[in-house]
């Protein structure tokens, strides 16, 4: 064979492996380049609206996916999440922008409620988004229902809570248990039980696997707490006092043992006799995972 015919083949045989090496080196080097927290940059919504031309809906979808993928990526191992405070701020801003571009889009509101409400305990921000969603999606019963629950569970504002859940109950197609639930919320107490009822209702409609997993663990933990609360109530009935420690309940044979908190915290009873956990229903950060 003549050289001129072999040469291109030799060239390809040599250069294709070299190409793979170079691309892996360059992409590695790119990761090590000095750059700022680019993820924290977000254009203001009016500017986004201008730049997205007639693809507002598509950009809204993209922002939602970005926020969702970010949340999914914060798992750093079994039952471990690593999210910084500024990341929550970015998360909130992104979902706000997504719902500015398409205020009727349901999923960002759900995601905001699940993450900002339960996970970040930034209930005010979650409620702001839920209120916005309920305003636009005036046919939707889930958003005011969530809003009501947040007022009840996190902010202990029973009046507002009952008001929003009643609002939800009046929407077409609303689950009949809403109105029952609304009347339950009007009373103080039964906080844990109500939370379980609420979350089981949410779980029925949720399809997102990440969120479902979160909800299931949360329900399991709340159920454990409910058992402990009942134990405390029995103790109080017997002795007239709140137990100082949960271990007293085991000593009194009211419960077999103190269960483990799936979030990695420890259950305890405070001075008012309320059962709490050191994890506050969030994954505990392990010592070695601090940045």
């Amino acid at each position: 064979m003549r050289v001129s015919r072999i040469f291109p083949i030799v060239l390809l045989v040599v250069f294709i492996p070299v190409h793979f090496n170079i691309i892996s080196y360059v992409s590695q080097a790119n990761r090590n380049l000095a750059n700022g927290d680019e993820v924290n940059v977000l254009l203001p919504s009016p500017i986004l609206k201008i730049t997205s031309l007639d693809y507002d809906g598509l950009v809204s979808d993209a922002l939602y996916f970005k926020a969702m993928l970010f949340y999914g990526s914060t798992y750093v191992g079994e039952q471990q999440r690593k999210i910084f405070d500024w990341e929550y701020t970015w998360f909130y801003n992104t979902l706000t922008a997504a719902t500015d571009l398409d205020p009727y889009f349901l999923d960002p509101y759900f995601l905001a409620n699940g993450v900002l409400g339960w996970e970040a305990k930034r209930v005010a921000e979650a409620n702001l988004l839920l209120a916005k969603g309920s305003h636009y999606r005036n046919w939707d019963y889930w958003l005011p229902f969530y809003l009501g629950f947040n007022y009840y569970y996190f902010l202990s504002d029973n009046t507002k809570a009952a008001e929003y859940v009643m609002q939800a109950a009046q929407k077409p197609g609303a689950d009949p248990f809403f109105s029952v639930f609304a009347s339950r919320l009007a009373y103080k107490g039964n906080r844990t039980e109500n939370a379980i009822i609420f979350l089981e209702g949410v779980l029925k409609t949720s399809r997102n696997e990440t969120m479902r997993k979160d909800y299931k663990i949360r329900i399991a933990t709340l159920k454990l707490m409910l058992t402990l609360e009942k134990g405390v109530a029995v103790y109080k009935e017997r002795t007239g006092n709140n137990p100082e420690k949960l271990s007293v309940l085991v000593e009194q044979h009211i419960i077999d043992r103190i269960p483990e908190d799936p979030y990695g915290g420890e259950f305890y009873v405070d001075n008012d006799g309320a059962v709490k956990t050191t994890s506050d229903l969030r994954y505990m950060k392990k010592e070695n995972s601090k940045k």
């Binding site: 203001p44 009016p46 500017i47 609206k49 201008i50 730049t51 031309l53 007639d54 693809y55 507002d56 809906g57 598509l58 809204s60 979808d61 996916f65 969702m68 398409d102 009727y104 889009f105 349901l106 999923d107 759900f110 995601l111 046919w139 949720s206 399809r207 997102n208 969120m211």
Partner: protein
């Protein structure tokens, strides 16, 4: 009319056989395929994301159609002097321009109908896969959005005709058309922004506000044709609005094409 028809027909034939059409259709089909994957990632409103993607894919491919096929049909005539052959017939310059425009409208309508059909099939399949998440879905609104996109493209095509009536190269027409498209699409939002700049914490000089307000009447307001959001959520659009948009398309196209004819009448083809 008797003279417009032959021009419209050969313009349409020349356009529909253009290889670029295959590329654009392939792109649209790929986007519609991606729709299956993406809408599967949504937890609640599958219908909204699926409709968003389907409508955006069609609107984007339609824009490519106008920019790469529509403009060429007119501008190549001038670039390559094909117009000599047409002008040698008993056809006036205005008749030529209008006949061409009718051909391009025909091309846009046929291509958009075809693409919309594919988009509808993709939506139907996604709907079949996730029936519980399509409660507020409305075929009527999706169809209306396709129709509005088609009208929008017809308007953009009219503008491209105006530009090619006075520019000397197709590239310049292409650039001017893209610029007007971008301006037309963002005009509503820009106007809202400069009239209430405090929302993003900027200050806008009164001159800018006047310029934007003037542009509002000169450029076509293309964002009026964007009812993707309403279609995605099955929100109602009143019949009067539909009539208004159809009337707006007709009036604006007539104005633009009349201007194009006036300029074209004086044009020489050395």
């Amino acid at each position: 009319m008797q003279l417009l028809w032959p021009i419209a027909i050969i313009t349409f034939k020349e356009g529909i056989r253009n290889r670029s059409i295959y590329g654009i259709s392939l792109l649209a089909l790929l986007m519609l395929l991606a729709n299956f994957v993406i809408s599967g990632m949504v937890a609640q409103e599958v219908s909204k994301v699926a409709v968003d993607i389907a409508l955006s894919a069609i609107s984007f491919s339609g824009l490519l159609l106008v920019l790469f096929v529509g403009i060429n049909l007119m501008a190549k005539d001038l670039d390559r002097k094909t117009i000599y052959m047409v002008m040698a017939k008993p056809i006036s310059r205005s008749q030529y321009l209008i006949g061409k425009y009718i051909g391009v409208i025909l091309l846009i309508t046929v291509c958009m109908s075809l693409l919309s059909f594919f988009a509808a099939v993709s939506l139907l399949l996604i709907k079949f896969g996730h029936p519980t998440f399509f409660q507020r879905f409305s075929w009527l609104m999706v169809g209306l959005s396709f129709f509005f996109t088609t009208l929008m493209l017809i308007l953009v095509a009219a503008l491209s005709f105006l530009f090619s009536s006075f520019t000397s190269t197709s590239f310049l027409t292409f650039i001017l058309t893209i610029i007007s498209y971008i301006i037309g699409m963002s005009l509503n939002d820009v106007k809202a922004l400069v009239e209430a700049p405090q929302s993003v914490g900027i200050t806008v000089s009164p001159v800018t506000v006047k310029i934007v307000q003037a542009a509002y009447y000169v450029f076509p307001n293309l964002s009026l044709f964007d009812i993707k959001l309403q279609a995605a959520h099955g929100l109602p659009v009143p019949v009067t609005y539909v009539i208004g948009i159809v009337a707006y398309t007709m009036v604006y196209s007539v104005i633009v094409m009349t201007m194009a004819c006036l300029i074209f009448r004086k044009k020489e083809f050395p």
